[in-house]
């Protein structure tokens, strides 16, 4: 398999922080992987994802997405990415259709292909009947499903998911995971997934990376990683590596 994301010796130091949020981190994500990025609070996940999305450049090092960096090929790099933030990044006073239509146009989609894409995703995730209702009238699970569709509309090569199933009912969670698996299987969509739901990560991801204090601690195939650390689950591996101490800050 070829490499989709190549992170080379990336460091990011915030101005007022005592130590780097990301420290000389290198890792690769292969095309077609469902890649779990795990780590405690403050490990550097959000900073790494922000740099992957092109929100700000690394202090040093390079990030290549499909062979391009944001600094030299911003448009190509961003077009290759779809983002599903942890927050419900939708306009509550617009309907699901209006939200997705707007966001689709912002990705450069238009016409029937956009309409068909919206309809297909809404239908698969069971929202077609409610697509002309305002988002503010939706349940938490319905909002999460629309939030996911907004990142999928342009069929990105890399889909970045930040806690995509947090706070949703079991049916919505299952629908989201099933749809993501289908997109990965049928479209070859690479998925970068971050979550504190380690059981879900173990079930969903074929590759797991654990980072802490801005550094990559371990990375490997999910099953191999469990075997390598003589554990029975990713949760055990995670606790073995990161310890039991609270990470409130």
């Amino acid at each position: 398999m070829s490499v989709l994301v190549d992170i080379q010796h990336v460091t990011k130091q915030y101005k007022e922080a005592a130590r780097p949020a990301v420290n000389d981190l290198s890792m690769r994500i292969e095309k077609g992987d469902v890649f779990g990025l795990l780590g405690p609070n403050g490990a550097g996940k959000t900073t790494l994802i922000s740099m992957l999305c092109g929100l700000f450049p690394p202090g040093s090092g390079k990030i290549y997405i499909n062979g391009h960096t944001h600094e030299t090929h911003s448009r190509e790099s961003k077009q290759a990415i779809g983002v599903v933030p942890q927050e419900i990044a939708l306009y509550p006073k617009l309907t699901a259709w209006e939200n997705l239509n707007f966001l689709g146009h912002m990705y450069g989609l238009k016409g029937n292909s956009l309409k068909e894409s919206i309809r297909m995703h809404l239908s698969v995730l069971g929202l077609e009947a409610n697509m002309h209702q305002k988002i503010m009238s939706y349940s938490g699970g319905m909002k999460r499903r629309v939030n996911l569709i907004a990142g999928l509309l342009h069929n990105p090569q890399l889909l970045i998911l930040d806690e995509p199933t947090v706070g949703v009912d079991i049916q919505s969670k299952q629908a989201i995971i099933d749809h993501l698996k289908k997109m990965n299987r049928e479209n070859g969509m690479t998925i970068l997934y971050t979550s504190h739901h380690l059981e879900e990560a173990e079930d969903f991801c074929n590759v797991i990376a654990i980072i802490d204090h801005g550094e990559l601690i371990t990375q490997g195939k999910t099953k191999e990683l469990i075997a390598q650390y003589n554990c029975t689950s990713i949760e055990e591996v995670y606790l073995k590596i990161t310890g039991n101490k609270f990470r409130d800050k």
């Binding site: 999305c53 700000f56 448009r75 961003k78 419900i88 939708l90 239509n101 912002m106």
Partner: protein
């Protein structure tokens, strides 16, 4: 295409935001109505072209007619003639319908003629050693004649004195004419063959007056001409609260994050906001003009005189709208929370409005405040509107104010961009 959809999205979000719409359109309408009604009488007290005067002529003779003519010619008053009793006149003034009431009693002209004649006769007789006047001989009353003046109780003392002096000056001229006529009559008795030329009654000494204000403003607006543009500008700049809130909300709910990850979309969305809210500013302006033209006259207030140049008014409104929207973008970018944006935005706009002459017009401010007022973008807009509404100014005269508004827009937009970049790179 992206921009079009961004505009459409902003339009949908705005149209469904009832609180935002209320702030944007209802607040300025209500403020214009209330403030114009409150300030109407105050403006009348300082606006020399429209002091309402109730004139009760019971004399119907030369003095009352000449007095009325002089008052009319002074361009100082708007005369309403009625036949009322003294108490009714007082009541009309007390109710604020008129600033001044003048009653010219019956036979005032006749008395003036008689008394002028008596005084002249006494004067001329004194040359022949006879100190007894005809009046004394005939028992004519030579004491002063009284005209009744009533003033609105809210009238400032200085204004009252000015008005009294003006009326007394007019009466002095009439008295003088009466005396000269009497003298002519007496002299013609002594020199029956003489044919005296008519005496010129133009003043020998005249005083020229000119406003020496810093901006050569020579005309003071009325309450409508002040309040319509003032509160329209206030509402335009108040857009910073819904606009700032809109930007912060996008940041808080992750939409901004999502938009920033899309190719080129964040700046398209910001441009969409800029254009949408500038259009909203123009709609606000058009709506407030309509209020000034059609609603205020229904409440007994003067109709807004929009001047001669609608394109120039549009340019001022566009410039002010851009300045206001730029400020809103800056507030939304700098503030971290809704509360911060609402508090900072509201307080800042109220201060800019206060020093800019929205609440209290700059022409009644002390000199120090007049100097400070020129830093407020609301003042630049307001002065431009005054210039077009009142002085029919052209772009040649108001371009410095327009340029300031555009520079303010550039400064706030640049500030928002730099702050956005700084926050992202922090």
């Amino acid at each position: 295409m992206k921009l079009l959809y961004s505009l459409y999205k902003e339009y949908k979000v705005l149209i469904r935001d009832r609180a935002g719409l209320a702030i944007t359109f209802i607040m300025p309408t209500v403020l214009i109505l209330i403030m114009t009604l409150i300030q109407d009488s105050t403006f009348k007290s300082v606006n020399e072209s429209s002091v309402p005067l109730l004139y009760v002529d019971r004399d119907h003779d030369s003095l009352s007619q000449t007095l009325e003519k002089y008052i009319n010619n002074s361009k100082f008053f708007v005369i309403t003639k009625k036949q009322l009793g003294n108490e009714e006149v007082k009541k009309e003034i007390a109710q604020g319908h008129y600033f001044i009431g003048i009653i010219v009693p019956e036979n005032t002209s006749k008395k003036l003629r008689e008394r002028s004649m008596a005084r002249i006769a006494k004067l001329l007789n004194s040359f022949s050693g006879d100190s007894t006047s005809t009046a004394e001989a005939t028992g004519t009353d030579t004491s002063g004649i009284t005209l009744n003046l009533f003033f609105d109780p809210i009238t400032k003392k200085s204004f009252k004195t000015t008005i009294s002096n003006s009326i007394e000056r007019i009466i002095s001229q009439i008295e003088m004419q009466g005396m000269v006529s009497a003298l002519n009559e007496k002299m013609s008795e002594t020199f029956p063959d003489a044919k005296p030329a008519a005496m010129e009654n133009t003043p020998l000494v005249s005083v020229t007056e000119e406003y020496a204000s810093y901006n050569n403003s020579t005309i003071i607006p009325n309450a409508v001409q002040h309040n319509v543009p003032a509160w329209t500008l206030f509402a335009m700049f108040f857009i910073c609260i819904p606009l700032g809130g809109n930007i912060i909300k996008e940041r808080e709910d992750g939409s901004a994050f999502r938009l920033l990850t899309m190719p080129g979309s964040y700046f398209i969305v910001m441009l969409g906001k800029l254009l949408t809210y500038t259009i909203v500013s123009l709609i606000q302006f058009a709506l407030m003009l309509l209020v000034g033209l059609f609603v205020l006259p229904l409440l007994g207030l003067p109709q807004l005189n929009t001047g001669d140049s609608l394109p120039l008014l549009f340019l001022i409104a566009l410039s002010a709208g851009l300045a206001a929207t730029g400020f809103g973008l800056l507030v939304g970018t700098v503030a971290s929370t809704h509360d911060q944006a609402a508090l900072f935005g509201a307080v800042f706009i109220i201060i800019l409005a206060a020093i800019g002459g929205v609440w209290v017009p700059t022409f009644v401010m002390p000199d120090i405040m007049k100097t400070i007022s020129v830093v407020s973008p609301l003042n630049w807009g307001l002065e431009s509107f005054y210039a077009v509404f009142i002085r029919n100014s052209t772009l040649k005269e108001i371009w410095p104010e327009i340029l300031k508004l555009w520079l303010f827009f550039g400064f706030t937009l640049g500030g928002a961009y730099l702050f956005h970049k700084y926050k992202r790179l922090k």
